[in-house]
Subunit: 135 residues, 2 copies
């Protein structure tokens, strides 16, 4: 019964990680973790992820200071995904929103997902900061 | 501004999908979607995913009847992940729990994730049905 780093992306074996606000259950972001990122998260109590594009481990908030203090880690039935229940310092999204999921698809429009237009996407959250002030 | 099926797993271009209870915000499961799965989900209002192991689209609940009625679809900043806010019929997990995330890691133990023992993992949810009665 071990964590199953089953998803291989760009040559790295990963699990899906979901960060969730530990009080409201709002989903903040999703990213990937290799075994080293998960171990560092457990050791330090702060969320570390694996960047599939930059191919390195990153501490969430390393440039913004918007770290995530991990309160609890849940694992799923297949042991290939984890939820980090976190206290989010600042905001999770580099675009200035508390959650990266700050937009919804207007599914009533039956949008063409390969060619979305402005009416197909709606911002549903409030912007908390201007990214240019932080990064 | 289009959905970015950026994660290639086993040769298929995918986004991460997270199913979340639309009333309580409990996270039910995570899986992947290719463009066809997302389109079918939008068209039908029921959650379809891409199975990276079986390499085919599947309707959540196709064998159990435990379908997910999609109330809302959120997209993230990078357009490479979606949240399905769903009304879950029955239970999401094939092991008989409402959510696939029915266990937590006892991080206080500083568990070795490559060699977990029984004390490292704790069931935190109630079993709703016996899988043998359903599948």
């Amino acid at each position: 019964m071990n964590i199953n780093f089953r998803h291989e992306i760009n040559g790295e074996k990963l699990v899906t990680a979901i960060a969730q606000d530990y009080e409201t259950n709002e989903i903040l972001m999703t990213a990937n973790m290799n075994s080293k990122a998960l171990n560092k998260t457990i050791e330090t109590g702060k969320a570390y992820y694996w960047s599939t594009s930059r191919k390195r481990i990153w501490l969430k908030g390393e440039s913004s200071g918007h770290t995530q203090e991990v309160q609890e880690i849940l694992v799923d039935c297949d042991m290939d995904a984890v939820i980090l229940k976190v206290k989010q310092n600042g905001a999770a999204c580099h675009k200035g929103y508390y959650s990266c999921f700050f937009r919804k698809l207007n599914t009533n429009n039956k949008p063409n997902i390969m060619n979305l237009n402005n009416e197909d996407i709606e911002v549903i959250s409030e912007k908390l900061f201007n990214p240019e002030d932080i990064y």
